[in-house]
């Protein structure tokens, strides 16, 4: 009984995590601007990874495995946030350095 509950909860969490990843990817492909694409990739993918990790933690065989999964999520979240900040900061600097006559849409 509890096994069915566990598998069900795990499946729900995994599927919703994947849905967030799909949303993030769609945002990455369809948003017009670098900043909005960064939003989509970092926030949606971060939440998606958290849900996937939660689904795996629910289904994990031991506390050690669950702890490792949570650590992976923490490091991935921190890393993606730092990467997002670096990309955005570089873009801001590049945009500031560009003269106004050469304004173009972000590629």
């Amino acid at each position: 009984m509890t096994s069915v509950l566990r598998d069900g909860a795990s499946a729900v969490l995994l599927v919703s995590g994947v849905l967030f990843f799909v949303a993030g990817t769609v945002g990455l492909l369809r948003f017009p601007d670098l900043s909005s694409r960064l939003h989509a990739v970092t926030k949606a993918d971060g939440l998606g990874l958290g849900l996937v990790t939660a689904g795996l933690v629910v289904a994990s065989p031991s506390v050690a495995v669950a702890a490792k999964l949570l650590l992976i999520w923490a490091v991935a979240l921190t890393g993606s946030s730092v990467a997002c900040h670096l990309v955005a900061a570089r873009d801001v600097r590049a945009a500031a350095a560009r003269p106004d006559s050469e304004r173009r849409r972000d590629g």
């Binding site: 490091v75 921190t78 730092v82 900061a89």
Partner: protein
């Protein structure tokens, strides 16, 4: 059923990523796609039951090589990632690229055909390795093959690494690693992040290295992770090798030399070059530490030498 779908997805992604790396015209984009394809390849290795290779692929193929390629691409085309123009008869020529792609497909097809004709003998050599596993002094097949049964090949691999590193150092005119700084003024975010990540990376690297004798892991993977930590430190403007350390470039030969030292010591003690049982475990651990250090040091030198050639 689900596993077949996963494998099919992985195979299709690999082909798609490979094609996109070849056919993109922007150097920075190509190196990022290369890194991603390295990650997908690592998952494919796991699916094939080869976690050691997966670890090596992620650490070396996707991680350090991806960073090196990205660095080189930005140095070549600048940060704006402009299109690499079509030079006449150059590699960017679409006809040549299609021909190269088809040639690669032909090679892969030949390999698949060879594997298919061998399908009755796909058991591999696992049984033969298991028969002598006790003598080798380690509990894991891959490490036993790499560092006991085929030590000669691993020694020559260290020779290849040494040749590559020395070539880069000479070509860049890199005088001493302790004097090289990346000159980058790291912001607060990346500074804090690197300070958080470096001890974690060192821990993971040493752990992966130490696990090589009993489970998936080993010196190359662990050394690459520590090398990645050193590269991260250097890229954010830290002095990686402190003035007090004064580690000379000659230490690059540490991995290659360790094998020679073991061989000489073995010859002094016995008439054959074979080491068995408990002494073998000690020797293998020592060799793994030497390889790990050499790999990490080489990665750092490759990265620093690439930038130092501006001087």
């Amino acid at each position: 059923m689900a596993e077949t779908a996963l494998d099919l997805l992985l195979a299709l992604s690999l082909v798609g990523l490979g094609a996109s790396v070849v056919f993109t015209e922007r150097a920075v984009r190509a190196s990022v796609l290369f890194t991603i394809s390295g990650l997908v390849t690592a998952v494919a290795w796991v699916r094939l039951g080869a976690p050691d290779i997966a670890l090596a692929e992620v650490a070396v193929g996707a991680g350090v090589t991806g960073a090196l390629l990205l660095d080189t691409a930005i140095l070549l085309v600048g940060p704006a990632d402009v299109r690499v123009g079509r030079r006449r008869g150059g590699a960017a020529d679409p006809a040549r690229r299609v021909a190269a792609f088809l040639g690669a497909i032909a090679v892969v097809g030949g390999l698949v055909w060879a594997m298919w004709s061998l399908r009755s003998r796909l058991d591999g050599l696992g049984g033969s390795v298991d028969a002598v596993l006790e003598d080798t002094g380690v509990d894991q097949r891959v490490t036993a093959v790499l560092l006991s049964l085929r030590t000669f090949d691993t020694w020559l691999e260290m020779g290849v690494l040494l040749a590559a590193a020395l070539g880069m150092v000479v070509a860049a005119g890199l005088a001493r690693l302790a004097d090289e700084r990346s000159g980058v003024d790291a912001g607060v975010v990346e500074e804090r992040f690197v300070r958080l990540l470096t001890p974690l990376l060192v821990l993971v690297g040493v752990y992966v290295l130490s696990r090589g004798t009993v489970a998936a892991g080993g010196a190359f993977q662990g050394g690459a992770v520590i090398g990645a930590a050193a590269i991260l430190l250097w890229v954010t403007g830290h002095r990686v090798v402190g003035r007090a350390a004064h580690l000379p470039t000659a230490l690059l030969s540490g991995g290659f030399g360790a094998f020679i030292a073991v061989a000489v010591a073995t010859m002094a003690v016995s008439t054959t070059l074979a080491v068995r049982g408990t002494p073998a475990t000690v020797v293998i651990v020592a060799l793994e530490v030497a390889i790990g250090f050499a790999v990490a040091y080489t990665m750092l030198h490759l990265f620093v030498a690439g930038r130092a050639s501006d001087h």
